[in-house]
Each structure stands twice: as C-alpha cells, then as structure tokens.
Amino acid sequence: MNLARYARYRYFPLCLGGVFFAIMASIPWLLNEAGAPGSGIAQLDMLNKIGIYALLALSLNIILGQTGLFHMGHTAFFAVGAYATAILNTMYQWPVFSTLPVAGLLAALFALLVAVPIIRLRGDYLLVVTIGIVEIVRICLTNNIFGITGGANGIFGIARPVIFGLAFSSPRQQYYLIWGFTGITVILFYLLEHSRFGRALNYIKQDELAAAGCGINVARYKLAAFCLGAFWAGMAGTLYAANIRSIEPTSFNFFESVIIFAIVILGGAGSITGVILGAFLLIGLQDVFRDFSSARMLIFGAAMIAMMVFRPQGLLPARRRHYGARRYLGKFPCAVRRQCGAAYNPYAEDEGDCV
C-alpha cells in the first residue's frame, strides 16, 4: 500500500506529463490526416495561440499563484518582450531567436523598476497599481515612445525564427516551437515549485509575517517572483511576435491581462496542470463558442461566476508536495515522554491524511 502511495505521488506527474506530451506531439499529424492538405491550419493557429497564453499564465502563476501577489498587469511585460524582439529584428536585423533572452531580460528589468516601489503594497492596492502599469505601457506604445514603436500601427515584417538553420515558418513548425518551449517551461517551473525557493514563495502567500519570522526575506522573494514571471512573459512576447509577425499596441490591452489572470484563478492558482487546462478552456472555448457571437461572453461570464461560487480553489488546485520523510521516523529522540510512549497512537485525535 505504501509502495502504491509512493508511486502515486512520485510517478503520477511523470505519467501525466508523458501522456500529455504524446498527445500534443501527435496533434499536427492527426489534424493533417483528417482532411485535405492544409486543412488543420486554423486549428493549429488556435493551438499556437493557446500555447502563448499557457506560457503567459504559467509565468503569471509564479507571481499570482505561488506568491499570492495580485498582479493584473502581466500584459505589460509581455508587450515589452514582444516589442523588444520586433524592434531588434526589424531595425537592427537581429535574428529573432537571439532576441529571446534580451526580450526576457528587458521585461525583467522593467518589472524590477516598477515593482521596487510597489512591492510592499498589499493585495487590492497592488492590483490597482498593476492595472495602471498596463495602461501606461499601452499608451506609451501608441504614442510612439522614443520614436521606435511605430505608434498605433505597430511594427510589421518581423522575421521567422531560425534555429541552427531550421526555419520555423509553417503553423506546424510554429506549433512545435511554442509547445516545445512551453514543455521546457513546465519542467523548470515544476522543479522550482518543489524547492526551497518555491516553498518560500508559498510561505509568503500564506502568511507574510510568519514567513518573515522564519527568516525569509519577504521583499526580496516577492521581487524575485516578479522578475522571474516578467522574464518568462518577455520570452513569450518573442514567440508571439515571431508567430504573428506584426504587432500593434491594441494586442496588449488591459483585457488581455484580465484573461491571463482569469486563466490562473480558474485553472487553479499555484497548479501547473490547472493553469494549462485553464488556458485550453478560456482561449479554446472562446473559439468553439464563436457561433454564438454575442451570447459568447455571456456564457463565458456565467461560467466564471459559477466557478468562483462552487469551486473557488480552481479546476485543478495545487497538489500537496511530499518529501519521502518516512525513512526518518523513529530515528530521532523525543523530548516529551508521553508522546513517545508505547501507548502513543499517531492516529488518535487529529484528522487528516496520514501516510
């Protein structure tokens, strides 16, 4: 029984990941088999869009889901990354792929600049300020700040990414690029979640004062979460710019921030699988319900309300981490005689799942 339990928490994520990987990897082939050549293109484009949103939501999840910072301005970092790639590529002829780290770094730097003064704000105050940041960025882009953002028209003619001589131009190639990147992100973020750093973020989310009382530098970890989330959003911006090939300020409005925020909350704050499911539902279903046109947002809104009433923790809430600590049972001395006595029953008064 113990072995089964061990296997469940140890290998479940691996199995889930493997199955998901196999499905995702075979989708382009399945779509192509279904009809005439080129028939699955609309679906692939939709999946690429979902991939970008999944990336954005995963990066916001670090800030909102793990650290509990109400940040509704994530599109601002996304915009910084996308424009960094567009400008470097079209004006300075950098290859798109080499702008990826630069876009991330610029977004992280921007996040650091705006976050330092506001990091001590609590909940709702932070929310209002981050909403302001998105609007400031959008208006700056529209007004052609520094004369390099192309104003309201945006920037056209961004090149396709080329990696080791392999050009990612068709929707199918784009699909593998975007979802491959998302896959790597999931693995890195999973490892991060299961570490001292990830736990520190969770402690801050649960009780800031107690976290500080445990020796955690709360302000520094919050800033680190902000910058990491922004770094990934910036890189998502690069992928977006390379996928869509022309960007304009309206793509980075406040509503996009709200959607990403909703993906994290509805999917399950702090849960990687939940966030990816959220991206599929919120972005994918928008397309499925397109035929209902005007009623679409109504259904969408009603579903959100129902979710928040009946399942406020999200569709797939975060799972508890396990540490294989059973092997230390009975190894260390106890200071309280009664608790260590033979009559001691570990399952006596407390409820909860004992392993």
């Binding site: 490892l191 107690a210 200071a335 909860g352």
Partner: protein
C-alpha cells in the same frame, strides 16, 4: 553573561504608550518569564525584539550586537526565533513543510540551483528534510509529518510552531503564551519540552499566564504593568512582592 539586553525601550502607538522605558537582561542559558496583566505591553516588547516593530527610542542588544530596528529575517538569521500568541502556522501546508520554513535561513539554494537541480541543491534539500524531521520528533509530532498543519489539534499546533522555530537553529527562543489553550496534561508535556529545549543550550524568554508553569521553570521573572517594569527577580521574590500581588497575582495568591 547576558545574551539579550533591553535598554530603555519606548514605543507608543498614536497617543497610547505601549512600552514606557523597559530595561532588563536575559542571561545566556536561562529561562526568563515576562508576566503582567493583559495590555501591559508584553507582546509589544516581543515584537520589538524580533524586529516587527521599531522602538521610538532605546536599544536591543543581542550578543553584543545592536539589533534595534533590523529586519525580522535578519534577526532570525542571527539566532532569535519566536512563536506567536495567535498561532501563525502555514495552515494549508503539510506539517513537515511548516518546519522546513524554519530551515530556510540555514540554507542557500536559490532560483537557478532549484531549476537545474544541482547536486548541492539536492543534498541541501535532503539535509533540510532530515533536520526538520529531527525537530518534529523532538516535539513529538514526527508521525504527523504529512498531515495538513491546520488539521492538528490546538495543542499540537503550538508544538508545531515550536518545532518550526527550533528548525532555524536559534540561540534564543521567544515563546508567546505557549500554554494558551492547552489542557493540564498538555501543559505538563510543554513544561518538559521547555526544559529539554533549555538543556540544548537555548536561552528562553516566555510570556505566560499559567503561573504554575512560570513559577516551575523560570529562573527569573520580569513583571510589566502599563508598559513599565514594576518588578524583576526570582519566582520566590516575585510571589512575595506586594506591588506584583496588587497589580497581577491577586491577594489570595
């Protein structure tokens, strides 16, 4: 030699003077009790020591370092740990993870070593889990390591808070009403535990209303009333002090 020395601490909130010139010393290796009626400013003194409040004037000297007004997390790293009067556990996390929080300041692994699982990060993590389990066993909660912290009984939650504080390897431990809400048996266990902590060489300062417990384990008592120290000395002296009897202990004590 005194490990902690408070010198003329003053702290007011608006017009209310919560702490009015408090001075006392805590000797290394001793157990000191801070007692007094509700609202006397005991918890405020604790919050000043741990850096949650900055005093208006006065100094906190720990091991010959002036730590007045330093950040809480830096003070924990110097070796001062605490528990809270109104239990502040990470309720939705496991018992073990709560103790791992205490281990945080004795480890270094950061963002990159976590993402790339360096060998050093792995061994540090293993050591942290082992250390946390050692502290859990010490307070008698090792079998509950995988339970949710919020599901523990009230007395066990207090023990868990102590384990979490111990995990930060403190030299000085501050307990804010550790026996609050405990029954007689649990209080007896707690007495035993506090003695065992002291035997590990950890100096303790505690606020407690259970006079039985305080008189049994404390070597020195400090009595606060209206933010000022009205008496300090051995439990036997304090019991006989007329000012303390009037202010706090009551006539028939």
């Amino acid at each position: 030699m005194s490990l902690l020395s408070l010198q003329n601490l003053l702290k007011s909130f608006g017009g209310l003077v919560a702490v009015a010139g408090v001075s006392f010393d805590v000797d290394e290796g001793s157990i000191v009790g801070l007692i007094g009626p509700n609202g006397a400013g005991k918890t405020t003194v604790f919050n000043i020591i741990t850096g949650n409040y900055r005093p208006d004037s006065g100094d906190v000297v720990f091991d010959r370092n002036d730590i007045t007004g330093r950040a809480t997390h830096a003070i924990v790293r110097l070796g001062i740990a605490r528990t809270f009067q109104n239990i502040r556990l990470f309720q939705n996390m496991s018992v073990l993870e709560n103790v791992l929080a205490g281990c945080h300041c004795r480890a270094n692994a950061g963002l990159f070593s976590a993402m790339f699982r360096t060998p050093r990060q792995r061994s540090e993590e293993r050591r942290a889990v082992e250390h946390a389990m050692r502290e859990l066993a010490f307070v008698g909660l090792e079998h509950r390591h995988d339970n949710q912290a919020g599901s523990l009984s009230y007395g066990n939650q207090r023990l868990l808070e102590i384990a979490r504080a111990l995990a930060s390897a403190p030299r000085f431990l501050i307990l804010d009403e550790p026996a609050g809400g405990m029954n007689e048996q649990e209080t007896a266990d707690l007495t035993e535990l506090i003695r065992a902590i002291n035997d590990r060489g950890i100096t303790l300062l505690l606020i407690e209303h259970d006079m039985n417990l305080v008189m049994q384990i404390c070597r020195k008592l400090v009595v606060l009333e209206y933010g000022a120290v009205i008496a300090q000395g051995t439990p036997a002296d304090i019991k006989r002090n007329p000012k303390v009897i009037e202010a706090y202990l009551g006539i028939d004590c």
